[in-house]
């Protein structure tokens, strides 16, 4: 069982602050996620319905999905939301949640995790 599995909507895809970097904003109900994308892996469009998976075990995936692995390495409470960061060896996945991922015991600091975003339709 994946530690996090959410149905999300791609709200927007905006240029990031580095050359060739795009930020994919996902709305997953109780959490939101921002995913770094570069041209090679940019397979999403605004409005896409996706499944957002964070898992210790390697999930199943197809070449139509985005799937990568890395480490959960940061979590801080800012205002009233928790900001958690996963580094996919450089590309960041930023997850904003109410209760945090480490704080609520779902994952631990420096857990090796797979992050997949699969298109639903």
């Amino acid at each position: 069982m994946p530690e996090i599995e959410k149905e999300c909507k791609v709200i927007s895809k905006v240029p990031g602050s580095l050359k060739g970097l795009k930020l994919l904003n996902l709305d997953c109900g109780d959490i939101t996620a921002t995913v770094d994308l570069v041209q090679e892996i940019d397979i999403f469009d605004e409005g896409n319905e996706v499944t957002f998976v964070v898992s210790r075990d390697k999930p199943n995936y197809t070449p139509n999905d985005f799937c990568a692995h890395g480490y959960l390495f940061y979590e801080k409470k800012s205002d009233d939301a928790f900001v958690s960061l996963i580094s996919l060896y450089g590309l960041l996945v930023k997850i904003v949640s109410n209760s945090g991922i480490i704080s609520s015991g779902i994952l631990n600091m420096m857990d090796h995790v797979y992050v997949c975003i699969k298109k639903l339709n």
Binding site: S17, L18, V38, S78, S87, G90, Y114
Partner: protein, 897 residues
């Protein structure tokens, strides 16, 4: 050998008395001619055989020794008239002034009082006896205080116009440089002849001489006026035979012949009763020759010249200066087993290696003792001989006989006869330890040990990362190489001086060896998070390293497999390494203070994985203390540091090569829009400058406290123009792509700065000389192209153009004027700091750290109870601190934060 061992307790300096000179002489030298008709040296000439042997095979008639063993012997010249020794003119002058012209006593009041009516006592406290008592008491223990007392005595005595002892009236003594003395009598200036001077000095009693700083036992004042001149042994002034068979004499010999010739003529003139005028002329000439014999660079008299017009190199010239005996032959000397050639780069060498040309490797040798383990290799070396590398040049037999392999007919036979105990001086081979050095050797890492890598070519090659400690570049720099010869020297060099053991400098406890220039650009480009690599690309860049191990799962699995640059870097990091901090690119709009950073400018490494942030100058740069590189080397050792530089750093370069890295004109070309914005800006700021000038002319300008009105105006204008350039730079910065390669270099710290980009793209700005606008040149204007007293920006060195657009001739002139100052500065600074450094080194070179940690002089005086008063070795410190608490916490639990 029955030499008794003696220990030198001290050295006594003094003057040679005429008697001593005669006593140590083997005979008077009188003949001005050197050789007779058949070319043998004349006895009684300056080449008298008794002065020492210089021909091989001859025996010395004085000591019976052959050449090389006979130390040479002194002769002497009896001067017909005394002459002043130029080296002691000051002492003679002081002494004449302080003593009575009549009785020779020191002109200090005797304790019992002076009987002379005219002597004015002035309640002068210092009496002759008292001064003598004080001197006796302090001379041994406080030599510097004694020197001050002597100066005081001289000054007091010189003031007396009447001798307190014999009541004789004193005249003022005048000196005409370099060596003529006069007395200012009523009838006018009267010249004091050396004979008179010597007579006066002779009259000074020993006690009085002591108060004038003489130690009469070793130097009586009158000995400073020469009556006998020593003739040095031929060994210090050998004659040389040039190919044509002609003999050429040493400069000193020439000079001595001159002296003898004039001395003889003077004698002849006196004997024949020549007019006084002629005698005095000859006497003066003798004085000149003796003076220039000692020092041929006396100010005020023309130097003695060779027939060719070249000034003679006499005694003082042999000792003085950079090429002189002290600095040229004693402090430093030419050495064997060394080589020098141009250096060039080779990124494929280890930082520990140095590329040595085969040609050099065949000349430099290492003595290797034959054992049963190396005998086959050394036999082969002997067979290869001096011309085939890796061979050998000499074999030393157990009985000490040295065999030159150039002249051995059958080297195979000699090789076969090698047995343990022989020593083979074999060619330099890969892995030998050598010392490598580049002048000026300003710190200890100007000389480091390298491992030899014999290569074709004619240059020494070194890894680019070792350039900073040597301050070397490849625009023609040459370096020296030395081969240690003993096992101890080799071991010391390897264990203490090897490059990897000097990555951390003792100067500030940071890595002096580290990335620069392309290494940094490459590291940035590889580690920035937008860089994805295919498996093939990952293989390509890792191929230049010695990395052995699994590549691991690609970071991106779908839609395609990609490795990231950070993944590649992480392969080289220790698995328990933690670090967090800002990158160099974290500044201005791209600054980050926490991990939540969209710019990739905050570095996070946890458990040896580079999770976030780029590697740039802050992380891996040279001369960057407390950086990732610094902590890696400190915590995982020098060898690991070398491993990183030989492998990871090469990967950076390889990535830059693969991706391509260059600069184009476009990188510094701003748009038309930005140009017109700049023009607008110029107009605005010119108006401000004009306003200031109008206010100044009307006297309404508000002066800056502590400055004149004019200075204030200049200040206001400089401020305004500085703002103009900054604003122009900002316009350019907004217009240019912040990710173009020029910007990448500036932001990562690889090369260049934002100011450089501003000057290339926007405008050069104000050129200054000594911090002020340029104002000198023609009368009241710099160039004739301006009206006089024009204070406008363009008339005072403001350059509106950029390097991209090009400068007009006037701007180019101003830029050159400003640039010249920098060149002059560096030239002056290096010479001044070089002199200061040499004096400091000479003053401190005997201080050492004892085994108990104390810092002492050679005499055992304590300088510090513990080194640096804290016992910290800066090289092994945490950037000067004993330890760094924050770093220790980070190391242990940093991954949890």
């Amino acid at each position: 050998m029955s030499e008794t061992e003696k220990i030198i307790k001290g050295i006594q300096f003094g003057l040679l008395s005429p008697d001593e000179i005669r006593k140590m002489s083997v005979g008077a030298i009188k003949s001005p001619d050197v050789y007779d008709e058949d070319g043998t040296p004349i006895e009684g000439s300056v080449l008298d055989p008794r002065l020492g042997v210089i021909e091989p095979g001859q025996k010395c008639p004085v000591c019976g020794n052959p050449m090389g063993v006979c130390p040479g012997h002194f002769g002497h010249i009896e001067l017909v008239r005394p002459v002043i020794h130029v080296g002691f003119v000051k002492e003679i002058y002081d002494t004449l002034k302080a003593t009575c012209r009549n009785c020779g006593r020191l002109k200090l009041r005797p304790e019992k009082g002076s009987t002379c009516e005219e002597f004015k006592s002035e309640e002068e406290e210092l009496t002759l006896e008292k001064a003598y008592r004080i001197l006796k008491a302090i001379k041994k223990r406080y030599p510097l205080a004694a020197k001050r007392l002597i100066d005081h005595v001289k000054k007091t005595a010189a003031k007396q116009e009447v001798c307190p002892h014999c009541c004789a009236k004193q005249y003022k003594i005048k000196i005409e440089k370099p060596y003529t003395f006069y007395e200012e009598r009523k009838e006018g200036l009267v010249k004091l002849l050396p004979t008179e001077i010597r007579e006066r000095l002779e009259k000074i009693p020993n006690e009085d001489a002591e108060l004038l700083g003489f130690d009469p036992q070793y130097s009586r004042p009158e000995w400073a006026v020469l009556t006998v001149l020593p003739v040095p042994p031929i060994t210090i002034r050998p004659s040389i035979t040039i190919e044509s068979g002609m003999r050429a004499e040493d400069d000193l010999t020439h000079k001595l012949v001159d002296i003898i010739r004039i001395n003889n003529r003077l004698e002849e003139s006196i004997r024949s009763g020549a007019p006084q005028l002629i005698v005095e002329d000859l006497w003066d000439l003798l004085q000149y020759h003796v003076a220039t014999y000692f020092d041929n660079e006396i100010p005020g008299i023309p130097p003695a010249k060779h027939r060719s017009g070249r000034p003679l190199r006499t005694l003082a010239q042999r000792l003085k200066g950079k090429e002189g005996r002290f600095r040229g032959n004693l402090s430093g000397k030419r050495v064997d087993f060394s080589a020098r050639t141009v250096v060039s780069p080779d990124p494929n060498l280890s930082i520990n290696e140095v590329g040595v040309p085969i040609y050099v490797a065949k000349i430099l040798t290492v003595p290797e003792r034959v054992t049963k383990f190396n005998i086959e290799r050394l036999r082969q070396a002997v067979i290869n001989g001096p011309d085939k590398w890796p061979g050998a040049n000499y074999v030393i037999r157990p009985d000490g006989r040295r065999i030159d392999l150039r002249y051995v007919k059958d080297r195979k036979e000699l090789a076969a006869s090698l047995t343990p105990g022989y020593i083979v001086e074999r060619h330099l081979v890969d892995g030998d330890i050598v010392l490598f050095n580049r002048q000026p050797s300003l710190h200890r890492i100007s000389m480091m040990a390298h491992k030899v890598k014999v290569l074709p070519g004619k240059t020494f090659r070194l890894n680019l990362l070792v350039c900073p400690p040597y301050n070397a570049d490849f625009d023609g720099d040459e370096m020296n190489l030395h081969v240690p010869q003993s096992e101890e020297a080799i071991a010391e060099a390897r264990e203490l001086m090897l490059v990897e053991k000097n990555i951390l400098t003792p100067r500030y406890g940071g890595p002096i060896i580290g990335a620069g220039q392309d290494f940094i650009s490459g590291a940035y480009l590889l580690t920035v998070k937008t860089t994805l690599l295919t498996k093939e690309e990952a293989y390509t860049i890792l191929g230049v390293s010695d990395y052995i191990g699994d590549l691991g799962e690609p970071a991106i699995l779908a839609p395609n497999e990609y490795y990231t640059g950070k993944q590649i870097v992480s392969l080289f990091l220790p698995k328990d390494f933690n670090f967090h901090g800002t990158a160099k690119i974290s500044s201005g709009p791209r600054a980050c203070k926490t991990e939540d950073c969209p710019h990739d400018s905050y570095i996070v490494i946890k458990k040896g994985i580079l999770l976030e942030g780029v590697f740039d100058k802050n992380a891996i740069g040279n001369q960057q203390p407390e950086s990732i590189l610094h902590w890696l080397i400190r915590e995982y050792g020098d060898e690991y540091g070398r491993y990183l530089m030989d492998n990871l750093f090469k990967v950076f370069i390889r990535y830059a090569e693969m991706r391509g890295f260059t600069m184009t004109l476009d990188d510094i070309t701003i748009s038309e829009d930005a140009k017109s914005k700049t023009k607008e800006l110029i107009k605005q700021h010119e108006e401000v400058v004009n306003d200031y000038m109008v206010k100044y002319n009307e006297g309404k300008l508000e002066p800056i406290p502590g400055r004149t009105l004019e200075e204030s105006l200049e200040n206001y204008i400089l401020d305004t123009l500085d703002k103009l350039r900054n604003s122009a730079g900002e316009i350019a910065a907004q217009d240019l792509d912040p990710f173009n390669n020029v910007y990448v270099m500036a932001r990562t710290g690889a090369r260049g700065s934002v100011l450089n980009i501003t000057q290339m793209a926007a405008m050069l700005g104000q050129q200054t000389v000594r911090g002020e606008r340029i104002s000198r040149g023609y009368l009241n204007r710099v160039l004739p192209h301006f009206k006089v007293n024009d204070k406008s920006p363009e008339a005072r060195g403001f350059v509106y153009s950029s390097f991209r657009s090009g400068l007009n001739p006037i701007e180019m002139f101003f830029h050159a004027a400003g640039g010249r100052e920098g060149l002059v500065d560096t030239a002056v600074k290096t010479s001044q700091s070089g002199y200061m450094q040499r004096r400091l080194i000479n003053a401190l070179s005997d201080i050492r750290v004892e085994y108990n940690g104390m810092v002492r002089t050679t005499y055992g005086d304590v300088i510090q109870v513990i080194y640096g008063d804290d016992g910290v070795d800066p090289m092994r410190s945490a950037h000067g601190k004993t330890f760094d608490v924050n770093r220790i916490i980070e190391r242990v639990v940093g991954w949890k934060r």
